[in-house]
Symmetry: C2
Subunit: 367 residues, 2 copies
């Protein structure tokens, strides 16, 4: 690790967006080594989705593990060839500061721990990739942004769908005017949640389906609209006798109105399956189902009374790899960071407005 | 006309619902003549959809025409063989009382005229079928119901989708538990409205897309839910600089919460095309697109990770014929009336709540 190696042509990330091409890179960047990630929190998402993908990255690799469970450090340390010197428990977490092999920290902890562990990573001089939701409040997001700024380090949020080719194509189609002027965005996400997990404990999750899966509906509505909502109105529906929902909401659906006049109807559910969006405009629509899944995305368009499925070639990098590489590439080459802390903050501001609208039973205007 | 004829086996209406089978009919009914409709208002819907279908009816036929335009009376009188004695203008409308060939009156006028012409028909001793929306206010609906009750005559609203086999099958599937406990109903209707027509004049229409096409989203959400909403929250979006929308709304989307906890997300638009609904529950979903069109309905279900298209055999009677026959059959045999005035009133109460919610920017609880 830490060996400087010349690298060949850099691949592109996603469908034509944020391409880092060799020709545009400064000489120092072309010669730069891969950056090293520490993964914080060795739950199923980290170990099953993220860590295997780090081996496929062009600009980054796995170099350190952070967990409170010694057996996990043993197991994954062995599996990924991470030496004991690069294992950390939460007590020793701040010592990552002294490890120059760690450039980037990926925070994959329960939501209520995101802010603390992201801020401590920034303070340790590391760039941060933090899972969504960025934190459990907008105030925490602001503290995270301030900490990264003070440390002159980057802060990115794990919005993997913003690196997924079908989603990028849908954004392009809307932006190009394919659907005409967008009038309605529907964005629906939900699944059946199993009992007894941290996501159902408000102290750890900060909220129910909205914090976990509804945030996909929210984030997609925003990136599809290409503008920020002016106001929000929400309705919650939770069976408080269901032991899963003792402290968090099951379902919350909301409407957002955008400056263009477009309205988004969004769904968030822990008791039914949804993974779809559609942007309808004055000339047609573009839709996906599944829209933000790990794989198997499908996409359709309608124009001139013709519905067509859109098939894309397999991407050079899948959404996970593209996301992991993006932070590293941005650090290495200075390309603008997508899915930044400011993006995560916007979602938390909206999530707070959605909860408030449902509680106060009225439209909430956004600042 | 007026000839008493014995008739054979009576066909069924729709997918197994409200079947009028010969064996269950009283003897007097089996021997009854067809009933005669007067059609009030000879616009495109009446002349292109309704009048051709009356020729296919089992229990009814076209016997009189009401129009303010003499040329239309001449043209359609000749086309359908209706004698001059059975032509009425609006000045002479109340004289239908003296015409025993007229049993039923179908009111197909602009919305703001529904109440007056339905009430005058009831007062003339006729049974009434009135196009949706039933009227432009709940108060008018109540007056129409009172007038029909006082006259001991029936009052039905033209909810043709309640007689359409795919819609009836969708209702049955939800009721049978196919989707589990319903959690989300999406119901979306809209089209691009052409300028310069009475629907865009609030004095005649009583409202914009909601009165015209959004009422399909509303009525379908209610019949799919099989229960009545407790509260509603709505958001309007209208470009008042568009000359089409000087006096009526373009788009209004709303949420309704039902006693079971199900939430409906409904769309009504005059500037984009939508004709679909879906009921998602804890076990799967059933959806249609198009859902409430004149023809070409398509229906899908999803259960156990399997999506299937549902194909139904061609119906004995299409939705128009089934609707026209239903009022006549109910009059002849006493079968319970579906799509009654009370059903139309419920929609107008909700429409008023939807407009009020959008205006006051808060959730409206229903009485």
């Amino acid at each position: 690790m830490g060996i400087i190696a010349r690298r060949g042509m850099l691949g592109s990330i996603g469908a034509g967006l944020a391409v880092g091409a060799m020709g545009n890179m400064p000489l120092w960047a072309r010669a730069k080594r891969k950056l090293g990630y520490a993964v914080v929190g060795l739950g199923s998402y980290a170990t099953q989705q993220i860590m295997p993908r780090l081996a496929q990255c062009e600009f980054a690799e796995l170099r350190a593990l952070v967990s409170g469970t010694p057996a996990k450090l043993e197991k994954f340390g062995a599996q990924y060839g991470i030496p004991r010197t690069h294992w950390y428990d939460y007590r020793r977490y701040d010592r990552i500061r002294d490890n120059p092999d760690i450039d980037l920290v990926y925070v994959v902890l329960p939501n209520s721990m995101h802010a603390e562990y992201a801020i401590r990573a920034s303070q340790a001089g590391k760039h941060v990739l933090c899972e969504k939701p960025m934190a459990v409040s907008a105030a925490e997001c602001e503290a995270m942004i301030a900490a990264a700024r003070a440390a002159r380090r980057k802060l990115m949020i794990g919005y993997r769908s913003q690196f997924e080719p079908h989603n990028l194509r849908a954004i392009e189609l809307v932006k190009s005017g394919f659907v005409g002027r967008p009038t309605l965005i529907t964005s629906e996400h939900g699944f059946h949640i199993q009992p007894r997990q941290w996501r159902l404990d408000h102290a750890l999750s900060g909220g129910g389906s909205l914090m976990d899966i509804g945030i996909y509906s929210l984030n997609a509505a925003r990136y599809l609209a290409g503008e920020e909502p002016l106001e929000v109105s929400a309705m919650e529906s939770t069976d408080r006798n269901d032991p899963r929902f003792a402290t968090v909401e099951d379902r919350i659906d909301w409407q957002m109105r955008f400056p263009s006049g477009a309205i988004a109807n969004c769904v968030s559910s822990y008791s039914s399956g949804h993974n779809a969006f559609r942007v309808t405009g004055t000339k047609g629509w573009v839709g996906m189902d599944p829209a933000t899944s790990y794989a198997g995305h499908r996409m359709w368009t309608r124009r001139d009374a013709q519905t067509s499925e859109v098939t894309l070639p397999p991407p050079g990098k899948d959404q996970f790899v593209a996301q992991l590489d993006h932070l590293a590439e941005s650090v290495l080459t200075g390309i603008p960071l997508r899915a930044s802390g400011e993006e995560g903050l916007k979602d938390l501001q909206l999530i707070e407005a959605i909860y408030r609208s449902a509680r106060e039973r009225r439209v909430i205007k956004l600042a």
